[in-house]
Symmetry: C2
């Protein structure tokens, strides 16, 4: 038969930042489906500052310790010529603000090293670069459209915005086939609380759902732009699968999300899980956190992403259920 | 007297790209006034790939050959700790598109070297970075406001847009006191025609006013966003003089300009200089140039710049007169 003579189309996947919670969830989603872009996954490489743990998958999984600030290390990672790359590695906003040079090294130099290594491979790989809604801020209208200026008010945001510019330009030049979705606040994020100002946006749900107390530093009427880990992972995988010509002239765009107030989200948790978790939240306004998070922008109209077939959660009740199904400590 | 006991406040100025026509005109403006920011200029350094020629001035002028892609050369340039810096050096749009790595090296690496060297001096110098309206393009509304996305469709535009992001972030961090005005098409530019697609926007006036023929590759109804060299130089000097706190959260902004069609501009030349120069224009549409320049955006509303006291030309008749006064070959 003719089709037996045709070589099976396969895809080698690389996840940079593969040790993080989104990288791990993408890896598990790929292991579950075994395919990407309608092609069989032939290998998966997971890279992070510390080599991630391996996982069961229907394809070989290799694990790599890489500092993306070093071009030679990034080149070595690209030696197997991956056709699809997720670049999720970043120094997060709090650290990029406190340790400016560390943030620039990972988020600007590191991202340019990834783009240049991807270009050098010469196979125009798909590169999904996780940008962030931290690119918005300052003197822009309250309602954010696809054509609203990126006007970041943090070093992390400036570095992500610059990364988007070069993902778009490297794609226009045909060096890579890039996509730079801006992630909403991902909640309910599994794991532990961290030093991020946004940490409470997951911990006030995660900890009470697991029988522990948590502190909410904002008023119930504080509004945020959010998405569940499950929808975010599905959108990131989908970002790798959308045909290049669907992106038009913009490779950077806001992912869909939902606007909700903390009060509405807490009531959603009550609907799914009852009064007990809600009663474990202590309300203690914290001006230091308010000063940061009141500058963030919850009103985003992601028309471009909708036109690309990307999706938002249906309700925060769903997010609570997803956490209970996917991430609660067993 | 008490005031004799006070040290006179002085300013050392550095112009990177000091050999170009804008750098030379800024240098002559500073030599004429002898002051910047209300302070006496104590020295002027002119730097370019080839050392610029020196000029008469009421302060010492030094001339330097510098490749800004090399950090050590940039550091040497900053050794005298200038308090005011004009960074105008760039690989222009045509070359940055044709020779991608040359453009990235000068326009991204070079600009980061300038910002990092300025930061390393430790005196928070004023840095005026010449951005460009080439940062606009693609999927944005026809009318451009101060909060419209920078969505460049050229590598030059992407590099300038990234430079703006870091001028803003380095300023927010207190490393420099940056200003990143986006220049309109500067016309009537002195000198010779070059390979830029915009070259005709000066040459169809400059050559006929000097008795020579010129070719116009677009229709008379083609509209552009422009400013004269005289107003552009005054605005760039003013950009160095505006108090830092007037900029708010945006260091990047469109300079004022005028919208005019080529036909209107040609009639303005007729008003000032009669029929003879107009008759020296040959109208020969050129699709290769049209393909580029029809993507540019003439409708810009520079409210931020107006609020900062920056200005536009009053008429293209003025631009013609300025050329005859300032730049015509003697």
């Amino acid at each position: 038969m003719l089709e037996n003579l045709l070589e099976e189309r396969v895809v080698d996947v690389l996840i940079i930042g593969g040790g993080g919670f989104l990288g791990q969830k993408i890896a598990r989603a790929l292991a579950a489906s075994g395919t990407l872009r309608g092609e069989t996954i032939s290998s998966l490489a997971l890279a992070d500052l510390a080599a991630p743990a391996s996982m069961d998958a229907p394809f070989p999984v290799s694990c790599h310790a890489v500092d993306i600030a070093h071009r030679d290390q990034v080149d070595a990672l690209f030696a197997p010529k991956p056709q699809a790359v997720f670049h999720l590695a970043a120094v997060v906003s709090g650290q990029a603000e406190a340790e400016f040079d560390v943030g620039m090294s990972a988020n600007l130099t590191g991202t340019m090293n990834v783009l240049d290594a991807a270009r050098a491979v010469g196979n125009t790989p798909v590169v999904v670069f996780s940008s962030s809604c931290a690119v918005y801020g300052g003197e822009i209208p309250e309602q954010i459209e696809d054509w609203t200026a990126l006007n970041p008010q943090t070093s992390y945001g400036a570095q992500k915005a610059a990364g988007e510019l070069f993902v778009t330009d490297y794609s226009r030049k045909g060096f890579i086939d890039g996509r730079a979705p801006r992630l909403p606040t991902v909640t309910i994020r599994p794991g532990k609380a961290n030093a991020a100002a946004s940490s409470f946006m997951s911990s006030i749900f995660r900890e009470p759902l697991q029988g522990e107390e948590a502190v909410c530093p904002v008023q119930p009427d504080y509004a945020l732009w959010y998405a569940s880990p499950r929808v975010t992972v599905a959108n990131l995988v989908k970002c790798a699968e959308i045909p290049a010509d669907a992106f038009g002239e913009n490779r950077g765009f806001a992912l869909p999300g939902r606007v909700g107030t903390i009060g509405e989200m807490v009531e959603a948790m009550r609907t799914v899980a009852g009064d007990e978790p809600v009663n474990r939240i202590r309300w203690e306004p914290d001006q230091r956190i308010l000063d940061i998070v009141l500058g963030w922008r919850p009103h985003i109209n992601p028309q471009k992403a909708f036109s690309l077939g990307l999706t938002a959660d249906n309700s925060f009740e769903d997010n609570v259920r997803y956490f209970l199904e996917d991430d609660i400590r067993r």
